[in-house]
């Protein structure tokens, strides 16, 4: 199992996503938005969480990371529609305090765990900052 801290607007996180997607590993996603660098980071994180409330977190996560050129609100509505979400509910929930708190909780847990850059992957409690490379694969192979 890998625990990933990532920012949905971060291009390195998009690259990491494509690598992890091709590996036989269970993924746990946690938000680590860095808004001074990526102004839409928290908006996108909230959109993924709101989709998650309708059972479509991973689909929205994949959709956002695999097409980072379209991140404005109308693009989010298109994505939500394409995933068959109740659009009014999505719109209400992505702006809700509960969703914002969920994202902030993820972020703070990452800060506490010593995350300093996105993406950062944790395997068996050990941090692997950056896009997963050879050392990550080796750790994954030798892991429990």
């Amino acid at each position: 199992m890998v625990v990933e801290y990532a920012d949905l607007e971060c291009p390195y996180c998009a690259k990491a996503h494509l690598i992890l997607k091709a590996l036989p590993v269970t993924r746990v996603f946690r938000h680590f938005p860095v808004t001074s660098k990526h102004p839409r980071a928290r908006v996108l994180a909230a959109a993924a969480e709101a989709a998650g409330l309708q059972g479509r977190f991973w689909e929205m996560h994949d959709s956002l990371l695999e097409d980072q050129g379209h991140q404005d609100d109308p693009h989010l509505w298109q994505r939500a529609e394409a995933l068959g979400l109740d659009l009014e509910r999505f719109e209400r929930e992505r702006r809700s305090a509960g969703v914002a708190e969920r994202v902030e909780r993820d972020f703070r847990s990452g800060v506490r765990a010593g995350v300093t850059t996105t993406p950062t992957q944790f395997l068996a409690g050990e941090a692997h900052p950056g896009v997963p490379g050879a050392s990550f694969r080796a750790a994954l192979r030798s892991g429990p």
Binding site: P33, V34, S36, K37, P39, F107, V111, A113, T116, T117
Partner: protein, 153 residues
């Protein structure tokens, strides 16, 4: 590097807008001095972006945070704008590195400050000091741990 328990060397430095900022301005509250080698270098960039994101958590606790490097005020202004951060950046520019030297963080070899974090207590005493290995961003967790362990009376 300066040791905890000693008096934090006083200083007055211009910020990115040329406004003079003195350590004494922070008396009565805690302040984290973030020394870093250079504006526009990749590691500092991530470090300040990260600290900007946790700034509300510092503010909740009444803790101030300032960046210090040997770059000049105009460079700081441009750097702040590029990073899109509001953390005040102080220019330890003239005489170059004098404040970094007073805190034992100046590298004569490279002509810049090391990546050091110094927590100064409300009374102006150094409560905690940490020097990061080169090219490593000191996580904000280190600062929070230091704050938690040393809650002032």
């Amino acid at each position: 590097m300066i040791e905890p328990g000693s008096a934090a060397p006083d200083f007055t430095l211009p910020d990115q807008d040329g406004k003079q900022v003195a350590l004494a301005d922070f008396r009565g509250r805690r302040v984290v001095l973030v020394f870093y080698p250079s504006d526009f270098s990749p590691v500092c960039t991530d470090q300040l972006n990260l600290y900007q994101e946790v700034l509300p958590q510092f503010e909740e606790r009444g803790v101030a945070l300032v960046g210090i490097s040997v770059d000049g005020a105009f460079s700081h202004k441009a750097f702040q704008k590029q990073l899109n951060v509001t953390i005040p950046l102080l220019a330890d520019f003239h005489p170059k590195g004098e404040v970094a030297r007073a805190y034992g963080l100046y590298s004569e070899e490279y002509g810049v400050a090391g990546r050091g974090l110094v927590l100064v207590g409300p009374d102006g005493t150094v409560d905690w000091a940490y020097l990061s290995p080169p090219l490593e961003v000191p996580g904000a967790n280190l600062i929070f741990d230091a704050l938690d362990e040393r809650t002032p009376a």
